[in-house]
């Protein structure tokens, strides 16, 4: 029972991380119908910039939480600029190009970002400082750390904030209009380019925070951390129905739980034949089965809610 509870907590924490990153993919996809493959790298840059700032502040004796906030105050705007910049340089000129062209530029941008980070911070795996308290809370024998609580709390907060933004602000209305039909939206006086830039900026800001939270939780950051994280988050977004905010959340949590429970229990159930080495197989099989029955993801058909 204790183990099961712990695995569920593991799954929810992992899922919240995926969801947070998946929001970045899904927002962009909802508006432009484009997979922003470089989003994982933005997440990585967020973690690395924050780390660099904290290292600069190391001697000042400021409380760790303050250092963290200062780090975020630098990395969030940096990532917003980066995300918007990527859109401007690598995607906007290709808006009318064949669908796969921006996919290739995205891969190019990913490679460039990774190796720029290598130039500045090297290839090593950097230990990430413990910026949040580490004493875990006890939950009926299972443990959850403050960093993990922060991840879950922040994901929920962001989700609520985004839903509010999309449904109750001028920008949100412009976003929905653009997602529905960019040409008509422009005729109605929506500045489409501005909306797209803002979407990238907001998604990147979330990505930066996600990168920092992930790095604190796993206490490590490195130049390739964005790739796998981005891939999983993208899978989560598709599972939930890409382009749908709620879908990203549902998909992320579901993927996290499948991974945790899959690697936790399938090994024992099959007598060790399929153990944790097949974790990603379980995840992708669930994805395939879901897509067979719901070809546009779990929540994909509610187009009205697209961000």
């Amino acid at each position: 029972m204790e183990t099961l509870l712990q695995q569920i907590i593991n799954g929810i924490v992992l899922g919240a991380v995926y969801a947070l990153v998946a929001l970045g993919y899904t927002m962009v996809y909802g508006i432009l119908g484009l997979i922003n493959f470089a989003h994982g790298e933005v997440v990585m840059v967020g973690a690395m910039v924050t780390l660099a700032v904290i290292k600069l502040l190391a001697g000042t004796g400021l409380p760790l939480v303050v250092q963290l906030l200062i780090g975020l105050a630098v990395s969030i705007p940096a990532c917003m600029a980066l995300g918007a910049g990527i859109e401007r340089v690598a995607y906007r000129p290709l808006r009318n190009a064949p669908r796969l062209a921006p996919l290739i530029t995205a891969i190019g941008v990913s490679i460039i970002l990774q190796y720029l980070v290598v130039l500045v911070w090297g290839r090593t795996y950097h230990p990430y400082p413990e910026l949040l308290p580490t004493t875990p809370f006890d939950l009926a024998g299972a443990r959850i750390s403050p960093a993990q609580v922060a991840i879950i709390f922040f994901s929920a907060l962001v989700m609520a904030g985004l839903l509010w933004l999309v449904h109750h602000t001028r920008l949100g209305r412009a976003m929905r209009a653009t997602a529905e039909n960019p040409v008509v939206a422009r005729l109605m006086g929506v500045n489409v380019n501005h909306v797209v830039t803002m979407t990238f900026a907001i998604g990147s800001a979330l990505g930066a925070v996600a990168g920092v939270l992930v790095s604190i939780n796993y206490s490590v950051a490195h130049y390739q951390m964005g790739f796998i994280l981005g891939l999983k988050a993208f899978t989560a977004a598709v599972l939930g129905g890409i382009g749908n905010l709620g879908g990203a959340m549902v998909g992320g949590l579901l993927l996290g739980l499948i991974e945790a429970l899959g690697s936790g229990y399938v090994g024992d159930l099959t007598g060790g034949l399929f153990g944790s080495n097949y974790r990603d197989v379980f995840a992708f099989l669930v994805l395939i089965v879901v897509l067979i029955f719901r070809p546009s993801g779990l929540l994909g058909e509610r187009v009205a809610e697209r961000a």
């Binding site: 712990q6 924490v13 090593t124 443990r143 690697s263 060790g272 944790s276 974790r279």
Partner: protein
């Protein structure tokens, strides 16, 4: 379509210019030693470390001023990136052969060393791997394959022997990182402890790209083993130790030479205390050049040794010694002398058996105490057959 011819001719010009350059730099008194390892991609920190180790070796040799066959020679390192990719490995191997290197230090991944070994064998060039632990690397029937690292079948049983005889564990859980190194080491360890009657309560798997181990560690926790053995390297090992402590797992943590690094200490922080790891060779402070090497490396590259730099460094010296004895820089003659190697290196005494593996040298067991690696025991694999 004007763009294309311009691009192509520019490309051709680049090839010509770079090839022309190579011809001019080779002079008769320069001896080229090849080096190949992953210098880009997810294992590039390890590859760069090997490159630095071999580079330091070459620089030290040149500073000493080596004479071979009565002639003063200058060594030059030709470093190539195999991207940890089997196909690229054969391409860069060919490139090293073309560049007329007399011997090669490389590759790191067994999956790169093995396909590349055919290229070197065809050219008759000796190859010393500083990091490939797959036993099959030296079992292909090539006379040119050597390694200065214990293979899985040497290190796994040594760890098992320490776990059974000294730690007296009754139950173990195993995690591997699904790589050639991790799978091989974990399997060798598993077979050895099972033979000694220890119960393996769980064998979990992660990958060399993961940082989240919560699910598999929770599973391990439920099985309450005495010891958790990890087949993998420090980049996963460090965060894993930390997450293990956070989950409240009290089992001891043990691994092979892949985690016996300063980087593990940095990544695991306070949680590192009590971690056990084996490394081929005698303890560094008992070796003549051990501590001096670490200092020298730090001074030269402003970085700590990650993992296999000492192996790369030693491999260069093993080659130079063979050349001295042969009085020649011809690959065939080096090869003949290489088999007779008896060298005291940074990693310990180096002798090769008939296949090119390290002769069963001692394997040191290290323990983290007070944030530092401390040698606690030395196991000699031949006598270490688990009781």
């Amino acid at each position: 379509m004007k763009f294309l011819p311009v691009l192509l001719s520019a490309a051709a010009a680049l090839v010509l210019s770079s090839c022309g350059k190579q011809e001019t730099t080779s002079s008769s008194d320069t001896v080229k030693i090849g080096m190949a390892a992953p210098l880009t991609g997810s294992q590039s920190h390890i590859g760069q470390d090997i490159k630095n180790g071999t580079l330091l070796g070459v620089e030290d040799l040149n500073a000493q001023g080596i004479e071979i066959g009565g002639k003063k020679v200058k060594f030059e390192l030709v470093a190539e990136d195999d991207e940890a990719n089997p196909a690229k490995a054969t391409t860069v191997a060919q490139k090293l052969v073309d560049a007329k290197v007399v011997a090669v230090v490389g590759h790191f991944n067994s999956g790169a060393s093995i396909p590349a070994s055919k290229v070197y064998a065809d050219a008759g060039i000796p190859q010393i791997s500083p990091g490939s632990t797959n036993p099959r690397y030296t079992q292909q029937g090539y006379a040119t394959t050597f390694r200065v690292v214990a293979n899985d079948d040497q290190q796994g049983p040594a760890c098992a022997s320490y776990a059974v005889n000294n730690l007296k564990v009754k139950t173990v859980a195993i995690i591997d990182d699904s790589t050639s190194y991790g799978q091989g080491l974990a399997t060798a360890f598993e077979n050895a402890v099972k033979a000694a009657g220890v119960e393996v309560v769980a064998h979990e798997h992660t990958t060399d790209k993961d940082t989240d181990f919560a699910a598999i560690l929770t599973n391990v926790k439920g099985k309450r083993p005495d010891l958790l053995f990890f087949g993998g390297i420090d980049t996963q090992g460090g965060p894993m130790v930390k997450q293990m402590k956070a989950l409240g797992i009290t089992a001891k943590f043990m691994g092979g030479d892949g985690i016996q690094t300063p980087n593990l200490l940095a990544l695991a922080g306070d949680a590192a205390d009590g971690v056990i790891a084996s490394i081929p060779g005698l303890p560094k402070d008992k070796m003549p050049g051990g501590v001096a090497f670490l200092d020298k490396f730090k001074k030269r590259f402003n970085a700590d040794v990650e993992l296999f730099a000492p192996m790369g460094y030693d491999a260069v010296f093993v080659l130079a010694e063979a050349m001295k004895r042969a009085g020649s820089t011809e690959s065939a003659k080096i090869l003949a002398e290489l088999k007779k190697t008896d060298y005291k290196g940074v990693i310990g005494p180096i002798q090769f058996d008939d296949k090119g593996d390290l002769k069963n040298g001692p394997i040191t067991i290290n323990l983290v105490q007070g944030g530092k690696w401390q040698p606690v025991d030395t196991v000699v694999p031949t006598t270490a057959a688990v009781k």
